[in-house]
């Protein structure tokens, strides 16, 4: 790194940085600010309120506060993140990674083969993932999951009607848990073995080694993964919308789908913007913590 000293350098820096910053400014920063501005108006997608929106102050936020569907949607998003991203992907993924990772006195074979298979759920585009799960969870007796159930004499179950919310949680766990495992296994294997070997000589149990040595040493990686998957999961739209379109009866209307429906199906731009501002603020808080973690890390 060198300081910018001459005019030539300054022009060079500005010229090279400008295109990237222009893209970010125009399509990410400006829309975020504009979302806030729109949320203070009664703008609609069609009709007179589309052309001449009026300033309505915090009216949209008042409506959000009173909208039980918004409360439910926010609650579903939090539950969705907690169960799928935090417990299903991060916690379960970490423990399974611990089983998989090579460490003193423990080595599994074929882990590259498993790692190659484990890539698929996350690498597949979300529409393919959703379609694949739609086939699996088909409600008629011919659906694969129902045929499995019939082997034990149960079912058939209308998965996407009766258990839509649990299904999307399982789908999101499916999408992230194996990536979490491979990621955490690499982190565990990068730990210096001396601490673990010393603990084994001292007779520490497997549990003690995990909770007293491995987890504290990997705290930064665990937190960074946790933050990133939490943030990503709050922003999920396509995976769930493709499968359920938020239904049945709003059962899977997570916050992204709430925003989309209000703005583009009910044409209520003001309310949709207000909800997306709430989502943005939530992500900003998480994001600032994430940035702080990354800053410590690098």
């Amino acid at each position: 790194m060198q300081p910018v000293r001459t005019w030539r350098d300054a022009v060079f820096v500005i010229a090279f940085l400008f295109p990237a910053l222009a893209l970010l400014g125009l399509f990410i920063v400006w829309p975020a600010i504009w979302a806030f501005a729109q949320s203070l108006t009664n703008r609609s997608l069609t009709g007179p309120a589309a052309l001449h929106p009026q300033f309505v102050g915090l009216e949209n936020y008042r409506r959000l506060l009173q909208d039980s569907e918004f409360h439910a949607s926010l609650g579903k998003s939090v539950l969705f993140v907690l169960l799928s991203a935090i417990i299903g992907q991060t916690v379960a993924g970490f423990f399974i990674a611990y089983l998989m990772a090579r460490r003193p006195g423990w080595q599994l074979r074929f882990t590259p083969v498993f790692a190659a298979i484990f890539v698929l759920p996350l690498a597949a585009p979300e529409t393919v993932a959703a379609l694949a799960w739609a086939s699996l969870t088909t409600g008629t007796p011919e659906g694969l999951l129902n045929r499995a159930l019939s082997l034990v004499g149960a079912g058939p179950v209308q998965w996407l009607q009766q258990y839509a919310f649990p299904v999307i949680i399982v789908v999101n766990i499916w999408r992230g848990i194996t990536f979490a495992m491979v990621f955490f296994a690499a982190a565990i294997e990068s730990l210096p073995t001396s601490a673990l070997e010393a603990a084994m000589i001292d007779g520490a149990t497997a549990g003690q080694r995990l909770f007293r040595i491995v987890i504290p040493m990997l705290r930064p990686q665990i937190l960074i993964f946790l933050m990133l998957t939490t943030i990503t999961t709050f922003g999920i739209f396509g995976l769930v919308y493709f499968l359920t379109r938020g239904g049945p009866q709003n059962a899977t209307e997570i916050i992204g789908i709430y925003v989309y429906k209000r703005a583009f199906q009910y044409f209520d731009i003001g309310l949709g913007s207000a909800a997306s501002v709430v989502l943005l603020c939530l992500l900003l808080v998480l994001g600032l913590y994430y940035v702080r973690l990354m800053k410590e890390q690098v």
């Binding site: 910018v4 990237a20 893209l23 975020a32 080595q107 690498a123 694949a132 990621f183 994430y290």
Partner: protein
């Protein structure tokens, strides 16, 4: 063989090694393999239908072993106008966005790696923060913005938005890759009389080529898989990418050609998976904060 070897090696370091512990160890390993196999099945099973239905002459929405196999769905996909158009549209959006991302982020990443200027650190952290803003949170104003710029139903509009979404991560990755190229190399070129621009393009860029490729692959995957942006910005049937074509086909539930849809899904999935595997290491280190300093 190697397992026995490593187990015994480990036992040499752990005293006292008893026969009973070795038995428990084997049992635990057996359990671990069982768990891994279950997870592998869990990962693969949802895709079984996609793979079989694509080659099943009588494909349905259900998983079934084909009684007669066929390549007709794949042939149809690449010969019928609708399928070809979806694939070409997806390629236009994705390649366009990837090229834009690579160009602007290579330039920006180089400058961020080589120069310190007032606010450069804050700028870097700000870019990192932008990485967390999903299109879900900005889609309403993005729609209004695209409308007022005349970007709706245009290739260039979607390309620019997709490129912007890939930019924060690509910028960070490329800065990291440029940081890994020793500054002494370009200083030597500068002393030899090369201009700053020439040093950047002819000396540094080739050395960071792998990084540019990795950022390009990751940008490609992101743009290729995008669903919400084209869902909102594209309503013209002739300009829809694969993701929206799949969605349209899927919600027209009764008249779906399942074999064709499965063949399309596989075609859609293959580039994403292949590129993902190639770029996996770069992706993982980008999460772990393996990128060098702010």
């Amino acid at each position: 063989m190697s397992r026995e070897l490593s187990a015994s090696r480990a036992h040499a370091t752990v005293a006292p090694a008893t026969q009973r512990r070795l038995g428990a160890q084997n049992l635990a390993q057996f359990g671990a393999y069982g768990l891994l196999v279950l997870l592998a099945i869990f990962s693969l099973v949802p895709f079984a239908w996609v793979v079989l239905a694509a080659f099943d002459a009588h494909a349905t929405i259900y998983f079934q072993i084909p009684r007669s196999w066929t390549l007709q769905h794949v042939i149809d996909l690449f010969t019928e106008a609708d399928g070809v158009r979806l694939i070409i549209n997806s390629l236009i959006y994705t390649l366009g966005a990837t090229v834009v991302t690579i160009i602007v982020c290579t330039m920006g990443g180089y400058v961020l790696s080589r120069f310190a200027f007032p606010g450069s650190r804050v700028l870097l952290l700000g870019i990192l923060l932008l990485r967390i803003v999903p299109p879900t949170a900005t889609i309403v104003p993005l729609y209004l913005l695209a409308t007022s710029l005349g970007f709706r139903d245009t290739y260039h509009g979607v390309i620019l938005v997709l490129a912007a979404l890939q930019t924060p991560l690509a910028l960070w990755m490329l800065k990291g890759f440029f940081d890994a190229v020793p500054i002494a190399i370009e200083e030597a070129a500068l002393v030899d009389g090369a201009s700053r621009l020439r040093a950047a393009f002819q000396v540094v860029l080739p050395l960071a080529g792998q990084g540019v490729a990795a950022a390009g692959l990751i940008g490609f995957i992101g743009a290729w898989s995008e669903f919400l942006i084209p869902l909102v910005l594209i309503s013209d049937q002739d300009k829809m990418p694969i993701s929206i074509g799949m969605f349209r086909a899927w919600i027209s539930y009764t008249q779906v050609d399942w074999g064709l849809l499965a063949a399309l899904s596989i075609t859609y999935m293959i580039p994403a998976v292949v590129f993902y595997v190639i770029a996996r290491r770069a992706l993982q280190s980008s999460i772990a904060g393996g990128l060098s300093g702010v």
